[in-house]
């Protein structure tokens, strides 16, 4: 009896061992890649930001000195706040213009407006293109002698002609519009899928009851697609904090004119690989910026999730 139990015990142990090794075999390669290239760099960013650096050589531990310099010392503080403000503009305009337009278009498509199938396919086209190609293309079109100004000439609105990327007031809005041009199809189709997921009986019942279009949308559909709105909001946060290619291709790494299109992404790049005002790479301050990008992404995503979770309804 005792012997039996013992044998059963070792058999169990052996089976657990085999199971564990199978699990390890399956998850280790992916875990290694994610650990080395995503998690390790996250901790290294934190670590590096606490040291002073001479080019690529790590010097001494200086605590939060890099953060203090970034936030209070010229030119870092001025550039950083300016960039942060531009990222804020990106986020707010994208939410207001792109995502509302996406919601409207997604809603119209879900109601099978005539031509819906064709519209759906066409709206998604620019989403597939690289930001670099789109940026360069519009960079040419928005030049003073480019297509947009030529078009304004053609329809007799030549007093609206502008240096779209050359004027400080207009440059960031122009970049944002180009980005919206490329990206509207994405929230459109996410919202379309979310609305299609609302039970048809609900809509039909409300419709037959004679509920107005306005109420049908705001009282029935909108509360039920809050999860999709959360996802789009979080993606917009991540996207807005990571703006880089758009600026690089259309107004250059320095965020011309006069830093008016500078973003955290371009400032981060210049700090890490060139310097803020021409010089050598500054790994310490660069790491501090990197860490702030992490924290901002994380914090704003959490807030968006929390904020929209509260309004979520279950059917």
């Amino acid at each position: 009896m005792d012997h039996d139990c013992l044998q059963q015990g070792t058999a169990m142990n052996q089976r657990t061992l085999i199971k564990t090794s199978w699990i390890l075999l399956f998850i280790t390669p992916a875990l290694l890649v994610v650990g080395v290239f995503i998690l390790l760099p996250l901790f290294m960013t934190l670590f590096n930001s606490l040291f002073s650096w001479n080019q690529l050589i790590r010097n001494e531990f200086i605590g939060l000195e890099n953060f203090r310099r970034l936030l209070t010392m010229y030119p870092y503080s001025e550039r950083f706040l300016n960039a942060l403000q531009n990222n804020g503009t990106w986020f707010i305009s994208t939410m207001l213009i792109q995502n509302s337009l996406g919601l409207l278009l997604g809603y119209l498509l879900s109601r099978n407006i005539p031509g819906a199938q064709a519209f759906k396919r066409i709206f998604f086209i620019p989403v597939l293109f690289s930001i670099v190609a789109v940026g360069f293309l519009w960079g040419i079109y928005l030049k003073p002698t480019g297509l947009l100004n030529n078009f304004l000439d053609l329809i007799g609105l030549d007093n609206l002609k502008r240096a779209w990327l050359g004027a400080e007031q207009l440059a960031t809005p122009s970049l944002i519009m180009v980005n919206i041009w490329r990206w509207v199809g994405f929230p459109t189709l996410v919202f379309l899928a979310a609305i299609d997921g609302v039970p048809q009986e609900c809509l039909e019942a409300a419709y037959l009851e004679g509920v107005s279009e306005w109420k049908l949308f705001w009282k029935i559909i909108f509360p039920l697609i809050i999860p999709a709105i959360t996802i789009i909001t979080v993606l917009t946060v991540i996207g807005s904090l990571n703006v880089f290619e758009q600026v690089y291709t259309m107004t250059g790494l320095d965020g011309a004119p006069n830093y008016s299109t500078d973003t955290i992404g371009t400032l981060f790049y210049r700090t890490a690989f060139g310097s803020v005002d021409a010089g050598s790479p500054e790994i310490g301050i660069g790491s501090a910026i990197g860490l702030i990008i992490y924290l901002l992404t994380f914090a704003i995503s959490l807030v968006s999730i929390f904020f929209t979770k509260r309004k979520e309804v279950q059917l």
Binding site: T20, W22, I23, L25, P29, A30, L31, V33, V34, V36, F37, I38, L39, P41, L42, M44, T45, N48, L56, L108, N112, I113, P114, F119, K120, R121, I122, F124, I125, P126, L128, F129, S130, V132, F136, N150, F151, L154, W181, V184, F186, L189, V190, A193, E204, L208, A228, I232, L241, N242, F244, E245, Y248, F268, A272, I283, S287, I293, Y294, F298
Partner: protein, 284 residues
Amino acid sequence: MITDFRYRGASLAKKLFITLMIAIMLIYVVLIIYPLFNMVISSFKTNRAILSKPFALPDSLDFKNFKTVWIDKGFSRYFLNSIFVTGVAMAFVILFGSMAAYGIARYTYKANTLVYMVFLSGIMLPLKAAIIPLFLLIKKMGLINSQLSIIMIFMAMGIPSTVFILSGFMKSIPIELEYAARIDGCNDFSIYRRIVMPMVAPAIALVTIYNSVPIWNDFFFPLIFLQSNAIKTLPVGLSTFFGQHSTNWSLLFTGLTIAILPMLILYLFMSKYFIKGMTAGAVK
């Protein structure tokens, strides 16, 4: 369906509303298509014609520019490099990603949730913010100016979402199938390989599109790690080309057309899959 926006039987106000909405959508369609059309026709024009008659059709269909850009300016090379890098990275993303998804979805153990959270955090963390330690790491590995550097980073970019999406699908496969296979003498790997993988094939197609489009289009990492022209991918090659020929619009439009057109043609044939694949992460 009765809730459809249709003209028939609609009130006058509703008819007007539908017409207005269709008008807005048509304007957006023109806004999408015309710039692309103008890009293609401009690539057949001379610089002078682009500036003086920007809306006119080209005088003739001369493919001279295409030959210059494709052969002399090295776009064929960039193109092959992009195919190679995306292909290799995606092969490993699918292999490692599906294995990890299997290891999470088909076993119950204590660290299960923890492992899942690690991959989930990989989706949330912006990889660009890690460029400094990544640069120092790649430098230490001696992989600066080698395609291996970006292949590994692209793997890290693709694996988290692949695990996330595939584990969801794998959880829904009935466990009885696994028991049956085990009785037939299958080990864990052949269950993964012969039972589970074929059953999630549609989801594999989904994650392939979901990850290969951003990898194909990625600019930031190749910009930093690939310096010699011979190994550059298409987006960085395009950027180099723009730096060298900034005033030759005719050539620039040709470069853009070559960079954009293949994706557009692929999309025309597979739009359904692209739409489903690209929105896979956001639509559950």
